[in-house]
C-alpha cells in the first residue's frame, strides 16, 4: 500500500471521472425532460454530484501524478509515504461523506462547494499533508527547481489558501454584506481553479520534459515567464467572473488588464516542444503525445474564448449564458482532462511492456475529441441563443427560453452521451491496467517484482 498509493489516487480519479461524466449525462436530460429522475434525485442534488466528481478527477489524478513522479521517476525518497496513504484514506472517506451529504440533502449550497461545510476540514487536512510531504521531500534534495516543482508547490499552497477563503462566508462579517460575500466567493473560485491549473500545467510540462528527456525545457526563461504570468493571473485575474456584480470598478480594471495577458506563453511552449520532438519520442509515448497535442488545440480554442470573455463589453452578453459553461467544459475536459489522460498514459507506459505501448487504439481518442467539439459548439450555440433571447425579450418567461432552445439541447445531449462513451473507452482500459498494479498486496509477490522490474527498465531507457 505504502509503495503504490500514488496509483490508487489515479484509480480513484478515473472512477470519479466516469461517475462525473455519467451524472453530467443525467443532468443534461433535465433540459429536455424537466421531470427526468426528479422523484429519485432532483437536479439540485444531481448537479453537485457531477461538478464535485469532476473536480475530484482533476485533483486526485494531478496529486497522484505528483506523488508518482517524485517517488518513481525522480527516485526521490518520499518524506513520509504513510502521510500520503493517510491523505488518500482521508479523501476516500471525504468522498463518501460528500455523497452522503448530497443524497441526504444536507448541503452547504455554495457553487462548486455544495457539500456539508464541515467536510472542508478534512479536505484541507489532506492538502496540508500533501504539502508537508511535497516540500519536505524536495527541500534540500533538489537545487535549482525546474518550473514544474514550483508550479506544484504553488498549486498546493494556494489551494489551501483559496479553499479556506471559499469558506469565509461562515463569518458574519462577510456574509452580512452580500456583494462582499459574492466577491470573495468568486475571487476564491477563480484562484481555486488557477491553483489546480498549476498542478495540471506543471504535470504537462513535466511529462513533456520527460518525453523529450530534456529538463532544460522546464528551466528556460520563457517557461518561467509563463509560470509567473499564470501566477499573476491566479492572484489578480479572477474578476471577469464578476464584471457585472456591483464591485468597485478598480477591481474590474485590474482583472481586465491582467486577463488579456493570459495563456499565450503556454501555447508557445507546447508548440516549440512539439516541433522539436523526434519521431522516436512520438512513437514510444504515442498516447501521452496525442493527448498533449489535443490539449494544445483545446488551449488554442479556449484561449480565443477566454480572451473574448474577458473583454467587459462581450462579457456583458456572454455572462449568465452557456458560453461560460462551454468555457468551463472546454478547459476542464479539453485541456485538463487531456493533460491528465496524457499523465496517466505516461505513467501506464512505465508499467507496461514496451512492445505493447505502440498498440494503443486511435479510435477512442478521436471519438472523445470529436464528441467534445460538438458538445462545446452546442454549448456556445445555446449561449448565443440565450444572449440574443434575453436582450430581445426582456420580460420573457424562462419556460419560453427553454422551449425555443430544444434543438440545441438535443444536440448537446447527444454529444454529451457520445462524450461519456468516449471517456469510458479511454478511462476503462486505464483502470484495467492500473488495478493489478494498485492491488499488488492482494497478488502474489511476483507481480510486484514484475512492476518493479518494468519501472527499472523504463528508468534506464
Amino acid at each position: 500500500m505504502n509503495k503504490n498509493f500514488s496509483l490508487l489516487f489515479l484509480l480513484g480519479g478515473l472512477f470519479m471521472l466516469i461517475i462525473g461524466a455519467f451524472a453530467g449525462v443525467m443532468i443534461s436530460m433535465v433540459y429536455l425532460l424537466p421531470d427526468f429522475f426528479k422523484d429519485y434525485l432532483p437536479f439540485n442534488q444531481l448537479r453537485p454530484i457531477h461538478t464535485t466528481s469532476i473536480i475530484c478527477w482533476i485533483v486526485l489524478t494531478a496529486s497522484g501524478g505528483v506523488y508518482y513522479y517524485l517517488s518513481k521517476v525522480e527516485k526521490l525518497k518520499l518524506y513520509a509515504p504513510k502521510l500520503g496513504v493517510l491523505h488518500l484514506v482521508i479523501y476516500f472517506l471525504v468522498a463518501f461523506g460528500i455523497i452522503a451529504s448530497y443524497l441526504t440533502n444536507q448541503m452547504g449550497g455554495r457553487e462548486y462547494m455544495v457539500f456539508f461545510p464541515l467536510l472542508m476540514v478534512p479536505i484541507l487536512l489532506g492538502w496540508v499533508l500533501f504539502g508537508i510531504n511535497y516540500f519536505r521531500t524536495l527541500w534540500g534534495n533538489v537545487k535549482n527547481w525546474p518550473v514544474y516543482f514550483w508550479m506544484w508547490g504553488i498549486g498546493i499552497v494556494f489551494m489551501i489558501f483559496h479553499l479556506s477563503e471559499a469558506n469565509f462566508w461562515v463569518f458574519d462579517y462577510f456574509r452580512s454584506d452580500y456583494i462582499r460575500d459574492l466577491t470573495v466567493q468568486w475571487k476564491s473560485y477563480g484562484a481555486f481553479v488557477g491553483s489546480w491549473n498549476m498542478l495540471v500545467y506543471g504535470t504537462v510540462i513535466y511529462v513533456m520534459s520527460k518525453i523529450k528527456d530534456d529538463v532544460n525545457l522546464a528551466r528556460g526563461k520563457t517557461t518561467f515567464f509563463f509560470f509567473f504570468l499564470g501566477l499573476t493571473n491566479l492572484m489578480f485575474g479572477w474578476a471577469h467572473h464578476t464584471y457585472i456584480v456591483p464591485t468597485m470598478p478598480w477591481v474590474r480594471y485590474v482583472a481586465y488588464g491582467i486577463s488579456m495577458t493570459e495563456w499565450i506563453i503556454f501555447i508557445r511552449i507546447i508548440y516549440g516542444w512539439s516541433k522539436s520532438l523526434t519521431k522516436k519520442d512520438k512513437r514510444e509515448n504515442s498516447m501521452a503525445y496525442r493527448f498533449i497535442m489535443a490539449s494544445d488545440i483545446w488551449v488554442f480554442l479556449n484561449l480565443v474564448m477566454a480572451l473574448f470573455m474577458s473583454i467587459p463589453v462581450l462579457n456583458y452578453f456572454s455572462h449568465g449564458t452557456h458560453i461560460t459553461v462551454a468555457h468551463s467544459m472546454g478547459t476542464t475536459i479539453g485541456i485538463n482532462t487531456c493533460i491528465l489522460f496524457a499523465s496517466v498514459s505516461f505513467i501506464i507506459s512505465k508499467l507496461t511492456p514496451l512492445e505493447k505501448i505502440k498498440k494503443a487504439k486511435k479510435f477512442p481518442f478521436y471519438f472523445f475529441n470529436a464528441s467534445l467539439l460538438v458538445f462545446w459548439v452546442a454549448l456556445i450555440a445555446m449561449g448565443v441563443h440565450k444572449a440574443i433571447w434575453v436582450n430581445t425579450n426582456p420580460d420573457g418567461l424562462n419556460a419560453d427560453l427553454h422551449a425555443s432552445s430544444g434543438i440545441y439541447y438535443l444536440i448537446f445531449i447527444i454529444a454529451g452521451v457520445a462524450l461519456f462513451l468516449g471517456i469510458c473507452m479511454i478511462a476503462i482500459p486505464m483502470i484495467r491496467t492500473l488495478i493489478p498494479a494498485c492491488t499488488y498486496t492482494l497478488y502474489p509477490k511476483a507481480i510486484q517484482e514484475e512492476i518493479d522490474h518494468l519501472e527499472e527498465v523504463h528508468s534506464e531507457d
Binding site: 457553487e111 468568486w186 518561467f224 464578476t242
Partner: protein, 150 residues
C-alpha cells in the same frame, strides 16, 4: 529585453531570482487581499438582516443555486432571481407562491410560512444590491462597461 518587466527575472542565478519575484508577488497579493476584504461595497444596500441571513441559509441548504442564478452566477435551468422581487410582473407574492409549487424540474419543497418569508427577505436584500441584467450599463469603445449601481 533589457529594461523591461520581463528582464526582471531573467538574471542569473534563476533560482534566487525566482524566489525574489514570488516574494514580491506574494506581498502584493497580501495587500490586495486586505483591500478586497475590507473595502466598502459599491452597493448602497444595508447589511443583511438576521431574517435575510436565515433565508440565505435556506437558499444554500437546498442548493437553489444549482438551478437559479443571482447576478448571472449559478445554474441555468431556472431563471435569474436577482431582481425578481422588484419585477412588477413578479414580486414577493410570486416568489412565496412559487417556492413550494414543485412545478416542472423544481423540487417539491415544503417550506413553512416563516421559511418562505425568510427566502423572500433574502431575495429582497439581493434585489437592493444592484441590477441584473444591468440594462442601464453603458459601453465604451475600448471595450469597457460602466455598470449602473443602485
Amino acid at each position: 529585453m533589457k529594461g523591461t518587466y520581463l528582464a526582471l527575472f531573467m538574471i542569473d542565478p534563476p533560482s534566487k531570482q525566482n524566489r525574489i519575484v514570488i516574494t514580491v508577488l506574494v506581498i502584493l497579493f497580501a495587500i490586495y487581499n486586505v483591500i478586497i476584504y475590507t473595502q466598502d461595497s459599491a452597493s448602497s444596500a444595508p447589511i443583511m438582516t438576521p431574517s435575510a441571513m436565515a433565508g440565505e441559509k435556506l437558499w444554500q441548504n437546498n442548493n437553489c443555486t444549482s438551478c437559479h442564478q443571482l447576478y448571472g452566477l449559478g445554474g441555468y435551468l431556472g431563471p435569474d432571481l436577482t431582481n425578481v422581487i422588484s419585477n412588477p410582473n413578479k414580486g414577493p407574492g410570486y416568489v412565496a407562491a412559487f417556492v413550494n409549487s414543485g412545478v416542472k424540474s423544481m423540487p417539491k419543497f415544503e417550506f413553512t410560512a416563516n421559511e418562505t418569508d425568510q427566502i423572500v427577505q433574502f431575495l429582497t436584500h439581493v434585489d437592493q444590491t444592484g441590477f441584473y441584467p444591468n440594462k442601464g450599463a453603458t459601453f465604451s469603445n475600448d471595450g469597457w462597461v460602466d455598470i449602473e449601481y443602485k
